[in-house]
């Protein structure tokens, strides 16, 4: 079952004297909800995701999973990165079962559990292969199986498909939300691809930059699987594009938190 995520007035600076990368981010994500964070490069969306994973600690505010403050990484709120970052000295099976071994499972137990996952992600015939022999898409599938093996309550995706070819990307954009829906996993994906956000999420949060903050949100109420050519999809895309453009000029008319003129000035200046 998925967990709820609560981001309470989170701000972040990399050094005490530096300008804030993120400022007063306040959001709640419901259990099993799939949320996309979109924004321009450098707006701090990956930083926010790293905080959700417990890999970074906010300078101010806090992040809670099911009401418990995150202070360290955990396999229960698991992150998939842009690069699959598999361990090249291991086989597909060994890579996928690593989280289970860390959690104290025996090798036999872990292998048994990940075998089913590898079947699910379409790598049943590659289990014993070295990961270096796989394509980029297959490597991301191993990373997905590795993330799912620990039964995470939250799956965090940091632009995980951006380096893949269009066909593989499209397949994974459909498969990952389907798996999360089936298992009730709460999913947060960071992307700068509007189509990807609409394809995968129930709700899209748009971030501005300098400092990064959530400036608007858009619910996506389209049936699954989502088709790019559907009218509803295209309408949402246009709407999101307008909001996305607004983050550049500070003129977003739909900003949920646009009642702070000082920030709008800062964004305009940026």
């Amino acid at each position: 079952m998925g967990a709820s995520l609560s981001i309470d007035y989170v701000s972040h600076r990399f050094t005490p004297s530096a300008a804030p990368t993120l400022k007063e981010i306040d959001a709640r994500i419901e259990p099993g909800e799939m949320t996309a964070l979109i924004g321009r490069s450098g707006c701090g969306k990956s930083t926010l995701l790293h905080m959700l994973a417990g890999l970074l600690i906010p300078s101010e505010g806090c992040i809670r999973v099911n009401g418990h403050q995150i202070s360290a990484p955990s396999a229960k709120w698991n992150m998939m990165f842009q690069k699959a970052s598999l361990y090249p000295w291991m086989t597909v099976q060994e890579n996928a079962s690593l989280g289970l071994l860390f959690a104290g499972h025996s090798k036999r137990e872990a292998t048994k559990q990940v075998d089913a996952l590898l079947d699910m992600v379409g790598l049943h015939d590659k289990k014993k292969d070295n990961v270096q022999s796989l394509s980029g898409g297959q490597q991301q599938r191993v990373a997905l199986a590795r993330s799912l093996a620990t039964n995470p309550e939250v799956l965090l995706l940091d632009e995980p498909f951006s380096a893949l070819d269009a066909f593989t990307r499209s397949a994974l954009q459909e498969e990952v939300p389907a798996i999360c829906r089936e298992r009730g996993i709460t999913m947060v994906i960071v992307t700068h691809d509007i189509d990807e956000a609409i394809t995968m999420a129930d709700r899209v949060l748009v971030m501005s930059q300098n400092p990064g903050r959530i400036v608007s949100e858009l619910p996506v109420k389209l049936p699954w699987p989502r088709r790019h050519m559907d009218v509803g999809f295209q309408t949402l895309r246009d709407e999101l594009m307008q909001q996305f453009k607004g983050t550049d000029t500070g003129l977003s008319g739909r900003c949920a938190q646009s009642s702070q003129p000082a920030d709008s000035k800062a964004e305009s200046a940026a």
């Binding site: 396999a75 698991n78 361990y87 000295w89 690593l98 860390f102």
Partner: protein, 276 residues
Amino acid sequence: MSTKTSAALSAPSSGFNWLSPVLGMLGGLRYPALGITSLLAAWWFGGYLVANDPDMWAFANFAPAPTFQALYGLVASGAIWPTILSSLYRILYGLFWGIVIGVPVGVLIGYVGSAMKIANVPFQFLRMISPLAWMPIAVLAFPTWDSAIIFLIVMAAVWPIIFSTAHGVRRIDPNWFKVARNLGASELHMLRRIIMPAIMSDVLAGIRLAVGVAWVVLVPAEYLGVTSGLGYAINDARDTLSYDTLAAIVVVIGLIGYGLDSICSLLIKRFNWHVE
């Protein structure tokens, strides 16, 4: 050309299929064989010049023929084996301590940035001191000649191992640490499952370098007090003017050094996870 004829030309009969890998292997040995032959030819020519020089004829036994005769004698009589075993014992014992000290220190200074900053200057300073320069101190500090020699080998072996290990740790993809932490790895998991496999080929490359340096240091170190080992045997052969035996021992030193290096090279290949 008929189909039958062209098939017969393109596919050799199965009886000759075993020939091609054998020919391939022999082809691969061409260059090493050429190198060895050149070395033997140069040695033989040197021996010929020495034998024909009225001032140097006494050293004619350094030539290949008397050397290999002496080598055969040493092997056949079994006299060479205790000598080799003494040297191997010292080198392996020294390498063992070099690895036991060098790998953890290398991991520490590679993994902890401040440890590297602290250790860099003193380690670079100590590394530059010839291991043989420690000889007087070793003789004073250790109760036996054997332990003094092993100390010199440790001093020769430890630096390449430390620096190669540290280099390996620093080269590890930071994402591997991030992913492991994300999957709930403890520090011990990180060391056992991520760091050690990731750096294994660097550690072995350091050990390979260490074997080379330690083997070079061993011979002069065995001039020191002991009455066994290849270094002692060389000294003894010189004192008894047995130049053929001396040259035979030099050959043995070269062969064992080459053998140790080949073992390291095989281990590096075995643990190297980079796809060629």
